[in-house]
Structure formats: C-alpha cells, structure tokens
C-alpha cells in the first residue's frame, strides 16, 4: 500500500480540523482489512459480509468541538447470501452516532448483475436520540405496475413509479453491482442507467453509473461514479480483489474494514 499523499480528490479530506487525520485513519482502516479472506477474480460469492467504517469528510458537526479518540462516526455492515430460490437476501446494518439513526435494512434481489429488487423489503429505523421519536418500521414492495409502495405504521403511500426500461436496485446492493458490472460500465462510455431506491425509501428514477478513472494511491483502485436526479455524485473505488474499498460522497467516506465470506 502506498502511503504517500495526495489522496484522490474524491476522498481527500486530510485537512482542516479533522482530528485524528483523515488520511491516517483511512489508511489505518484499509491496512487492517485482509483481502485474502474474501473472494478473488471472477469467482462469485455465495455469502459474504463487508464491514465499513464511516468517516466524516469536511463536516465537523458530529464533534461539537469535543475531543474524539477516533474519526469513525458510524459503521455499515452488509451481509448477503444466495438462497435456494436463486435470490440474494441482503441484510444491512447502518449505525450513525451523529444522527442517532440505526437502520436495519432487509431486501431481496434477483440473481442478476444489476441486483434488481424483488418481493418485499423492510427498513427498521431505531433512533438513540433523546427526543420523542425512537423507532419507525417501514415495509415496501413493487407492484406489477412498477409502483413502489411503502407501508409505515399501517399507512401505505406511493414512493413513485419506476420506468420499466431501467432496473431498480438499492444503493446498498452497489457493493455487488459495481464489481459485477465493472467491465460493462467501462465499455459503455457514458455509463449505464438504473433506478435506485435509496435506503429502500427514496426512489431516484434516473441515475447513472459510470467509470471515473484508475489510481494507484493509496492502493490500486478503479473508480466509478453515480449521479442522477435527487442524487449528489458519489464515488466508488473497486480494489483488485473485487471489493469496494472506498465509497465516498460529498459528506462521508465508507472505508472497508473487514470482509468475511465463502468463495465458490
């Protein structure tokens, strides 16, 4: 791993008042992750778990001026396995110590590179803040007319309708969609279109996944970007082992800390 700076602009936040320093933390986390444990090359994972630490970018509102021992402000754990019915089951745990929002997200996808959503899904939000709101459960499904329906405390609403010409996936499936479609995206030139149900609640109808560039620092990575209506650009960095090592928005950066999984 190359420790020299500068980091790529899409995840370079090693300045300002971040303490501990961003680059130092990012490299420390990546160093702790052992790529040999996971999957290699084109072999398909049948069950895998990736654990990401969440680092704040520029924003320092999480600290309120206090001293912190670590920069990490949350964790995302993505578990998925392929079932006997040839569907992928995802379970995502997202913990954010700043908002207090802890999400448990469950969904299923067809066994396709785009990981299209199928069946029903659920979001269980629990909040550790000190105010009235502490928990919300939401279930969802896609109708035959491609309408996204959400059920919240027995009240059902529409979250919009998906254009049938594009696949609907969830942002938390990108950790598999991008590795699976990497060559397709690169070959496409302008990128590929898809619809995203962000956190299984917000429909982003028109989104585009494209290739950004390859870099060697802090390790060899291929970059991909996502943007679209209602979406700020995010950058996804795929390592040589087929894992998203870094995912960065304008606001936060997810860094791969650990992975566990079968290799078939």
């Amino acid at each position: 791993m190359n420790n020299s700076n500068p980091l790529h602009w899409s995840f370079d936040y090693n300045y300002g008042a971040q303490n501990p320093q961003f680059a130092q933390e990012l490299i420390r986390i990546l160093r702790g992750y052992d790529p040999e444990v996971g999957t290699h090359g084109t072999q398909k994972v049948q069950a895998a778990t990736h654990v990401y630490d969440i680092l704040p970018n520029y924003w320092r509102g999480y600290s309120r001026g206090g001293v912190r021992e670590e920069l990490r402000i949350g964790t995302a754990i993505i578990e998925r396995s392929k079932n006997g019915d040839n569907l992928w089951s995802y379970s995502v745990q997202y913990e954010n110590t700043t908002s207090g929002e802890n999400l448990e997200i469950k969904f299923r996808c067809s066994d396709e590179d785009y990981r299209p959503l199928t069946g029903t899904w659920s979001v269980d939000a629990r909040n550790s803040g000190d105010d009235t709101y502490s928990r919300l459960s939401c279930e969802g499904y896609l109708t035959l007319d491609s309408e996204v329906r959400l059920r919240i405390n027995d009240t059902e609403i529409s979250a919009g309708t998906v254009d049938t010409s594009v696949k609907l996936t969830c942002n938390w499936a990108f950790f598999d969609v991008i590795p699976a479609l990497a060559q397709t995206i690169r070959a496409s030139g302008d990128g590929i279109d898809l619809a995203v149900l962000e956190d299984l609640e917000q429909l982003r109808r028109k989104s585009r996944l494209g290739f950004l560039e390859s870099i060697q620092t802090p390790l060899p990575l291929d970059g991909y970007y996502l943007y679209g209506t209602g979406l700020l650009p995010s950058y996804w960095w795929l390592d040589a082992h087929g894992d998203i090592a870094i995912a960065s928005t304008f606001f936060e950066t997810l860094v791969l800390r650990e992975k566990m999984g079968d290799r078939r």
């Binding site: 520029y58 803040g129 009240t155 917000q202 209602g230």
Partner: protein, 474 residues
C-alpha cells in the same frame, strides 16, 4: 375534526426563491413543492429578514427583526425575555412540536416545543445528509400515530439544501476537477452560468470586508478555493445545488403523502418557506450573507392539501412584500392566538384568502449587524452603518449620518442587480426615497443592547476590521 387547524411549517435551508420547478426553473425537479404551490398561494415577493440561518430563524421564532432579537448573525443569542412561537402556541391550546433544525442560539428548543427529533448530536448549522431522513422518519411516526383532540403545530426544519455549504467547503484546500475533466456530467447537463455572474464592484465596505477581500471575515478559505474555479466549476455548483434541493423535495414528498393518507390534510394548514437563499454563482458569490436577491429572496407558500381551510390555490401573489417576520403572526392568526404587541410582522392570511387589505410596500432586510436593505417595487437599496468609534453593542440605526456606502438597483431594468445606480444623479430621488423608508422602518424597531459576551466579541472583532478598511482602504 378540530375547529382550529393543525399547522405544519415546513422549512428548508438556503433555498432561493426561484429554485422550484413550478416557478419555471428548468434545471431541477421539485414535484412535491410544486404540489404545495398547486394547493396554495406562492408569495413571489418574499424576503428573509437576514440572510443567514440563526438570524433569519430568530425572526421566524419571534416575529421581530434581527436587530431586535439579539441574533444579528449566527453567533448571536436570543434575548431571554422575548416570547417565542412555541411558548405562545402551547399557552394558547395548541400542542407545539418541533423536528429537525432549529438554530436559534440562546433558546432551548426542547423547552419551547415538544421535540420529535433534534439529532443524537444536536442539529447545528449543517448535516442534512444525516439528519433530514431521520427527521422524516420522526414526522412519519408522528403523523401516523397522532391521536388527540387538540390541534397541533409542527415545524419541520430540513437542513438541505444547506449541505451545498459542505460541497463548497470541500473545495477549500484541494482542486477538484471540473465535471468535464472528471468525465462525469456532460456540459449539456449543466445549467448555464448565472446571467449576473459579472457584478458591479461598487459594493459596501461591509460586503467587501465580509466577502470579497483575501482575508474575508466570512469563509475566506472557500473564497480562496473558488478563485481557482473556471466557468464549468461555477456551473457545476448550480448543478449540485439543484440536486440538494431535489433531495429535500423528496423528503417533503413523503410527509405530504403521509398527511394525505392519514386524512389530516383536510384541516392542516401548510406553510413552506426557507430561512435564506443561496448566491450560487450570482455576482461571483457563494452561500448567503449578502443582500443580493439570490441570498435574501425565499419561497413562501401557504397551502392546504384538502378543502378544510380557505386558501386561494395554484396562485402566484406577485404584489405583496412578505417577510420572515410574518410567519409568527400568520401562525397565530390561523391558531386564533393574540400576538404580542411589539412584533413587526403581519399575518398573510388575508392575502392567502385573496382579500384586499392594506399592506406594506417594501421589504426590510438586515445583514451582518451593520448591513441594511430596502426592496421596493422599483428599487433595491442596500446600505450599511459605519462601525461606531466606540462600540456600545446597541445595533445601529436609524441614523442617516452614520450610513456608509450604498447600492441602488433598478428592479425592472436590472433584476440581476449588476449596475449600481446609487451615485448616478438621475437616481438621487430614488436613493432618498429608499433611505427615508429605511430610516422610518428602523424608527419602529425596538433594538436592545447585545449583552452576551460571545456576540459582543464578534461585533468587536468585525468592527475593528471594518474601521480599518474605512480608514486605510484595506
């Protein structure tokens, strides 16, 4: 059904008046704010009281201008004896709730409202990426469980599009390639450069010292970063800004959908507004803190998704000057609660009902403690008070002798505010008329001395820099 309506005040942060697709902006899609417009009256001449979060919000909370509230900038402190909207509503038989961003320093939101959600770490200026979806969850939980005979007032403070500030901060110390260099967004996708990107440099000293000079008092690091931008960077700022607005529009959409499905919509008044706008490249400026139109003019919609409240729908009010001080009395009017005598605002309810009532013919705006503006049908007049030789921490005005430099813009011929006419003899009458209006408005204000040490420090430090500029031109 409650005789008195439920009241929902949805506010966004840093949302310019024209960044709504129903208002004809082709560069973004806001179907949910558009729905509010279709179900209500949009006041097109709506202005914040002060183009920065805490100050503008102190006016929402009190119905007073910011030289009266004690919060003339983000570091102010609300004078403790001034009643806030939550206190009045609770005393008046409403259940007053708050969710999301508050940002009125000096007043504990949890003491004035029942808070649905205010962050694990209290929500400060920014952080929409973390707080807004949680706020929607909290509101969804509230709306789907509300079971009371008492009417509610709920204010939802969404943080976006304020996260455009984080986007800007990211440019402080690194060069981010423009989108064409990145190979992401194509040039055809980008909005054009603002028509008023070029500006008249004859600005007030306050504006130069706060926003233009190398060591500007406000966000000098961003200023340094954007000086390396090319045209595509500025256009990409606008592109990103509109994405932030689309994000918050989607959050609002979920609230509106739940309101409908829970049948609360029939008798719920909805007010939508923003604390201030965003320059977004106009006048080669970013963020707020200026008295230009993009920074001070905000959406203000009064709507009802059902038929339980009489409101003229799908209508633009292009006539009446509405201000942030009007929120407080408007809410009280619908709630049937008397307002304190001293407040400056006026209820817009008759206007939402398309009634012909006497109304002010200008908007009055303050900025950065010393800055002032008057907007009339014809002109925008911007001026400043010179810092006092010996600061007494009483907000300045009205004092014609202490006024500094001025800007005058013809709102019809130059809506982009690109030509300062203040020194043009042909416009002396307009300058005088606006200045007299300003001084007359200020004579009605109840200013109080700033006593909290934190804002006093800001006034001292900024005042020193301003005095130096007046004396030495730098």
């Amino acid at each position: 059904m409650n005789e008195r309506p439920n009241i929902l005040f949805i506010n966004t942060d840093q949302h310019s008046w024209d960044a709504i697709s129903a208002y004809g902006n082709p560069y973004l899609r806001t179907p949910n704010i558009d729905e509010l417009h279709r179900n209500g009256t949009s006041f097109r001449k709506s202005f914040c009281t002060d183009p920065v979060c805490a100050a503008a919000r102190s006016s929402w909370a009190t119905g007073l201008y910011t030289s009266e509230t004690g919060v003339p900038f983000n570091g102010g402190y609300l004078h403790p004896e001034i009643p806030d909207l939550g206190q009045l509503l609770n005393a008046g038989g409403y259940r007053a709730f708050h969710c999301g961003k508050w940002h009125v320093p000096g007043r504990n939101v949890r003491e004035s409202f029942q808070t649905l959600y205010y962050g694990k770490t209290d929500i400060g200026a920014g952080g929409a990426a973390y707080y807004d979806s949680a706020s929607t969850h909290a509101v969804a939980d509230f709306l789907t469980n509300y079971d009371s005979d008492e009417p509610f007032y709920l204010q939802i403070g969404y943080v976006d599009p304020h996260d455009v500030c984080e986007y800007l901060h990211n440019h402080e110390e690194k060069r981010i390639p423009n989108p064409l260099e990145q190979g992401t967004v194509s040039e055809d996708d980008l909005p054009p450069l603002s028509e008023n990107f070029d500006y008249d440099e004859r600005e007030t000293v306050l504006h130069r010292v706060c926003r233009r000079v190398d060591d500007a008092l406000i966000h000098a690091a961003i200023l340094k970063g954007v000086r390396n931008w090319d045209e595509l960077h500025w256009r990409y700022l606008r592109w990103n800004y509109y994405r932030f607005i689309e994000k918050v529009d989607a959050e609002i959409g979920r609230v509106l959908a739940l309101l409908r499905e829970t049948s609360l919509h029939h008798n719920t008044l909805i007010i939508f507004s923003a604390d201030h706008g965003e320059a977004c490249g106009s006048h080669q400026m970013f963020q707020k803190f200026t008295l230009y139109e993009e920074s001070v003019r905000v959406p203000f919609i009064v709507a009802c998704l059902g038929d339980g409240i009489s409101i003229e729908k799908d209508r633009f009010d292009e006539t009446h000057f509405v201000s942030g001080v009007d929120l407080f009395p408007t809410v009280c009017d619908y709630a049937g609660i008397d307002v304190p005598e001293r407040i400056q605002g006026v209820s817009v309810r008759p206007l939402a009902e398309a009634k012909d009532v006497p109304w002010r013919d200008y908007a009055y705006i303050e900025s950065n403690y010393w800055g002032r503006a008057i907007v009339t049908e014809e002109y925008k007049y911007v001026t400043e008070y010179k810092p006092k030789a010996v600061e007494d921490f009483s907000p300045p005005g009205p004092d014609a002798e202490q006024l500094g430099l001025s800007q005058l813009f013809d709102r019809h011929d130059d809506p982009g505010e690109t030509k300062n006419l203040a020194e043009d003899a042909a416009y002396s009458e307009g300058v005088n008329a606006c200045r007299n209006k300003l001084l007359a408005q200020e004579a009605q204000l109840h200013r109080q001395q700033i006593v909290h040490p934190s804002p006093k420090r800001v006034i001292s430090n900024w005042g020193e820099r301003l005095r130096a500029y007046w004396e030495h031109g730098r």
